[in-house]
């Protein structure tokens, strides 16, 4: 098998996102991750399928040279599910925005997670409707001023991570659009995870919600306001690498190493593979100003996947049944002869 490079995944289409849009970085990350996935899993290019719904980020399939399906608003998750069940040999990737996946497509989103369909959902969260030019979304912060909320929204946003873990998701990761190395690592790990992987990319919309995640992405504050979780490593963050997270069994708190007798050994060690959701849920929920926002792979556990279970059942039932073709089916049960 010839080794693929990122160029093999670039299509000949002109990328039409606004200059400075966070989607460019995620696209580049995906094009860099897929050759690694291909190598790791032994997948040829034709086994990759990219699916999307409607919205700016949902144009992504056209910029990939793989098989692609551009669906309708909110329904990408259902389409991906059908593709994967029909052919579990395919590696299915889905691009969707916060409005697409969490508003109009919220139902399909939680059910794909509940079923643990082996698809990779890339959730581009810019907290705004971009393609319809600037209305608030289910992830817009309370009070956000947009075209449809000129006096501020009066509704609480979803935290996608809580939604995923609440539906007993088996894989959830979060990254900042601009963090290409982390994106690439997360995407590769998502591909290797058997089950429904949700990767939330905190993306910027330069036109309608510029600085969507500036409070944590600004280089001046990023180290203090985010913590990148890595498997089996301590949850240490901060410009001076002296802050850490501790857990008293009920709640998380931020501590400073070297103060109040705290040493590095007191800081939590991240375990994305732990089956118990309590701590992972608390980590996914963290937000400023009291807590850093967690980035990296927060949860990555194994469970039976829906697509394999469907196939296995078909195989088991076929093996046991005395009816192997339609002619036999038509003659099964009560029949009578007229001679």
């Amino acid at each position: 098998m010839a080794e693929l490079t990122f160029k093999d995944f670039k299509s000949d289409q002109e990328v039409r996102w606004c200059p400075g849009c966070g989607d460019h970085a995620v696209l580049a990350s995906l094009q860099r991750a897929l050759p690694k996935v291909s190598q790791a899993l032994g997948y040829e290019k034709e086994r990759f399928v990219v699916v999307s719904g409607i919205g700016c980020s949902s144009r992504l399939p056209y910029y990939m040279s793989t098989y692609g399906f551009h669906g309708i608003h909110g329904r990408a998750t259902a389409i991906s599910t059908g593709i994967k069940v029909a052919n579990p040999e395919l590696s299915v990737w889905q691009a969707c925005g916060d409005g697409d996946a969490l508003a109009i497509g919220g139902n399909h989103f939680i059910h794909a997670i509940r079923r643990n369909v082996d698809i990779n959902i890339m959730l581009f969260n810019n907290r705004i409707y971009g393609l319809t030019k600037g209305q608030y979304s289910p992830t817009s912060k309370l009070g956000a001023i947009t075209k449809t909320s000129p006096y501020g929204t009066v509704e609480n946003p979803f935290n996608p991570g809580s939604l995923v873990l609440g539906a007993k998701g088996t894989f959830f990761a979060r990254s900042l659009d601009v963090d290409l190395p982390l994106n690439e690592q997360i995407l590769t790990q998502a591909a290797l995870h058997e089950g429904c992987s949700v990767i939330e990319f905190l993306t910027n919309c330069v036109i309608f919600n510029d600085g969507a995640h500036k409070d944590i992405s600004d280089p001046a504050v990023r180290a203090d306001r985010t913590v990148t979780l890595r498997q089996s490593e301590r949850m240490i963050f901060g410009k001076d690498r002296n802050k850490g997270l501790v857990f008293d069994g009920e709640r998380l708190s931020v501590v400073t190493i070297g103060e109040n007798g705290i040493t590095e050994d007191d800081i939590l060690v991240h375990d994305a593979h732990a089956d118990n959701l309590t701590l992972q849920m608390a980590l996914a929920d963290m937000k400023g100003p009291d807590f850093p926002v967690a980035l990296g792979v927060i949860r990555d556990v194994r469970d039976t996947t829906y697509d394999r279970a469907v196939r296995k059942q078909v195989e088991e039932v076929s093996g046991k049944s005395g009816v192997h073709c339609v002619d036999e089916l038509l003659h099964s049960g009560s029949t009578w002869e007229i001679k």
């Binding site: 289409q13 329904r75 599910t81 076929s318 339609v326 002619d327």
Partner: protein, 615 residues
Amino acid sequence: MQHKIIDAKDVVIRFAGDSGDGMQLTGSLFADMSAIHGNGLSTFPDYPAEIRAPHGTVSGVSGFQVHIGSEKVNTPGDFCDMLVAMNPAALKANAKWCKRHAMILVDEDAFDEAGMQKAGFKTENPFSELAVDDRTLIIAPITTLTRESLKDSGMDNKAILKCKNMFTLGIACYIFNRPLEPIFDYLERKFSKKHPEVIGPNRKVLSDGFNYAANVQAIANTYTVEPIKDAPKGTYRNINGNQATAWGLLAASEKSGLPLFCGSYPITPATAILEELALHKNLGARTVQAEDEIAGICTAIGASFAGNLAVTTTSGPGLSLKSEALGLACIAEIPLVLVDVQRGGPSTGLPTKTEQTDLNQALYGRNGECPIPVVCAHSPAHCFDAAFNAAKIALEHMTPVILLSEGFLGNGSEPWLIPSMKDYPAIRPPFVKGEPAEGEKFRPFARKEGNMVPEWALPGWKGYEHRKGGIEKTHEGVISTDPLNHEMMVRERAAKVAAIAGDIPELKLIGEKSGELLVVGWGGTYGHLLSAYSELREEGTRVSLAHFDYINPLPANTSEVFSAFRKIIVCELNSGQFANYLRGLFPQFDFIKFNKVQGQPFLVEELKEAFRKEL
């Protein structure tokens, strides 16, 4: 009293009771027995939307009508020769369906003060109140006799009362000279594994019912209905429309070599198709009970893109929800079968009743220029062929297809001469062949001349990477908002659907090729129209009948058939949707409408009357 055995050409029996009385089972057992006996047969379940509607009330009455004959039977019958009414409400709801000479069997025990009150009777004599006191009344204490029959069975009172329907069935078996053995066999098959203890009591109560009828004086006459004499030889089975639909789809899966995928959401009266497919994983069927109707069709769209024979099944409200996704399947040009088992609408409407009111929605219910082939089934067994043909069109013409069934067909059943799969054609999807030439790009929307069908390449096939979706594209699969490209693609998609006319059979005319009156119908009204046509002929009145199985596109000879008649009457269970469609396509003809929108099938009588008026 002299006991007479009357040789009847056909009889109609209507079983009616509370929705928990087991009338559907009683009716279908009687039907199965008659089928095995070799009778012509047609059934019609008529039940309320509630699982256990208020006990003893008219709205909670569940009915099952069986029509058996010594010749082929086309309809479940307008009126019944025998009504079984398990309580006053059942009598009240069904008395109007009794023929002049009908026999009425009631459970005397249920006609107490409370029962009469719940049914809303105002006098003490329900029969005279309903003006059926001149019929042959068999007033039997069925509850008491069932209790008596099972008093030593060890069963509790509740379980004993559940056996009333078996006692009743025993009486019916005596009256229509049916042997009990087929029912004994059924009980063995059904209960020997899980509940062997119920077999004995059920056998006993059935036999006791039969013997009671043989001894009671009220039953003067019994009937025999001879088997059909010159029925085609072969193996038969009884089949209902939903089962036949599921099996037709499995047959198409086998003939195309593509695994069947069904993404559906439960909805009355279509659910049984999903249930039937879920049962047949042994034939490779993959079923996804989706989170909603939209996910049902969208998972199917995904499965189709990946190369399965994709199906979604629903009823009217579900079709509304799937509209946007149907548009996606149309513009993405992927094969898909949508089965709509129509029910009374709009909205929730009459969920358990039959109608043909989704035709407009099937033809036009989408945004944009969105032509979709529409085919229909005309009898319960024909659902098999209709589903097979719908799948064949979808796969060979790369298009979604809507198959219109009806509650009347889905739940109704008839005997079926089991076909052999070797007599069905292969299904050949337009798959690309080999690998594309070096440097050549696959053009997913380039079309074959003639039928305008694009080729199909599946994810996983080397070198054919392409993108499909809901946004307008060029033949190359590249997004385009070019005005002329859009218009060209709109025309090409329409031409592709129109070209299907070349692949469907010509419209068959029943009766003379020209004349005074042509009767036109489509879908599940076929049996009633055929009966009306035959009966009028026997009476010396000549009409011809043209019944449509294909609605979009219409058979190529449609206009030619129409042109030979002075009058055309279009009969349908809606306000005239097919007639309006025909008016648009053939403005040169005058179409008379004959419509009924009551959630009930036509009556042969009312059809005959309508035709006579036009002659």
